[in-house]
Structure formats: C-alpha cells, structure tokens
Symmetry: C2
Subunit: 145 residues, 2 copies
C-alpha cells in the first residue's frame, strides 16, 4: 500500500457552519451536493456529514462527538509569529484553543485548536523539519540525531 | 492559515504493534524515542501514544477507543485491482475490513479498513480525481459538473 494520504475527510454536524469556519481561515473550497472539497497541497480535505461518513465507512456513529479522536492534524509554518497568527485567526473564526502556543520540548513553538466539531489541529514551528516553497514537508533523517 | 496539512498524528495504544502494522503495509518509518514518523508524499504520518497526544493537545483522553472518530483518511489508487490489493494487504496485516470494496455512487470503487486502533482508512479508485505521477491528488473543477 503506497505510503501517502490522498484525502482527509472530516465528519461534521453542520456542513454550512464548518464550511464557514474553514473559509474564515482563508481557505477556498468547492461544494458538491452535501460535501465540501478543499485542495490542500497534494491532497484534499473534505467536509461531510458525520452520519454519512460513518455509514460509508461501515461503522456505527456512536454519537459521542466530545470523545477524544486520538488523531490530530498539524499545519507547520515558518516562524513563531506565524503560529500566533494562525491560532489567532482560528480563535476569531470560532475555534477553541485547547493548548495555547508555547515552547516545545524539541525546540519549536506550537499550540492546538479544535474546530467546531472537535477536530484537533496543531499549528507548529519546528525548525528541524523542512518546509519547501510549495508548503510540502520533508522529514529529516533522524538517524543522525 | 495556509490551506494544507503538514502532519497527521495517529494516537495509538501500542507503538510497536502499530509500527509493525504500517510496516506490513510496506511503509518505511523512522522511530525517534516514542514516536514513529512516516514520510507520506509532502507530509508525514506520525504514530504516538494516545495519552501523550491527548496531553499535548490539551484535551482529556476520554479512553473510548471504540467511539467513532468522525474522521477518515483515504488512499486513492489507479485501478480497482489496486483497491482490492491494498485492502487484502491491510487484512493480512491485521486490519478490520469495515466496508468491503464495492461500487460507489460516483462511479468509483472503494472500501474501508480500520487499523489496530480503529483509525479508518478508505482505499478508493475515483476516476474523476487526478493522481499525478508522484501520487499527489488534484481535485477536478467541480463547477462544470
């Protein structure tokens, strides 16, 4: 199985609310029936009804939207001030800041927010990871660390 | 906030079990202390302890690993036979097939599996989405559809 991810689908309770939230972050999406697609680098983020996603995946929608998802998305940026700016933008768009920006153990700077459905996003500046001009991330060779 | 995703961190109960699972899919990762990093196109997939992720994100680990996560990752491939092959590989590696491969409403072919911690992956062939040679996905312009 190829080592990549093509799409990330976020199950949402209210498609319009979630679309507005991501658009207030400056994102531009395309709505197709009851789905919103955002091109995000070489992949796509998709907003879709929580119940529809559960049904499509063949799992029960346990309905506990406050349960910890055990998954987090991260946006890596180029400076600490970009971390602060993005978290501020998210808060103004209605996100909950679950962990304010702070120094990290790896010498970086990061914080987390939760989107309207509780999906966790970390915004991080990690000087050890390469961000190419197109925004793609390249891990270091950790064997020398 | 830039319209992209740099990392996807999957909270796991047993790092060795999860690392073995993804390596049995053919993935190659680098372990750094209690974290495993997989380069996945222009981003990274990270395996990390569920409790550590919750603490880092500033949210309670509600412990209900069987709750629906309301999020799914997808790997898009180039043919129906590649869908079958990837789902077969996942099943042999110990995944639960939550939705066997079948025709989709959009004229494609897809199925889902859950990894050892219940993280959902869809494997899909969608003839309407472009997969570039490097595996990156490009959404169509839906306005004409």
């Amino acid at each position: 199985m190829d080592q990549r991810v093509s799409l990330i689908t976020l199950g949402v309770a209210d498609l319009a609310r979630s679309r507005t939230f991501y658009e207030e972050l400056g994102w531009e999406g395309q709505q197709v029936e009851s789905t919103v697609f955002f091109q995000a680098g070489g992949q796509a983020i998709v907003l879709w009804g929580r119940g529809a996603l559960a049904e499509d995946a063949g799992v029960p929608d346990t309905g506990s939207s406050s349960a910890f998802r055990s998954i987090a998305l991260a946006l890596n940026v180029r400076s600490r001030s970009e971390v602060d700016a993005a978290l501020g933008e998210a808060a103004r768009a209605g996100a909950t800041i679950t962990s304010p920006a702070a120094e990290t153990f790896y010498g970086g700077y990061a914080g987390y927010f939760a989107d309207p459905d509780g999906h966790l996003w970390e915004v991080a500046h990690n000087p050890g990871f390469t961000l190419k001009a197109d925004g793609s991330l390249v891990l270091p060779d950790f064997s020398g660390s």
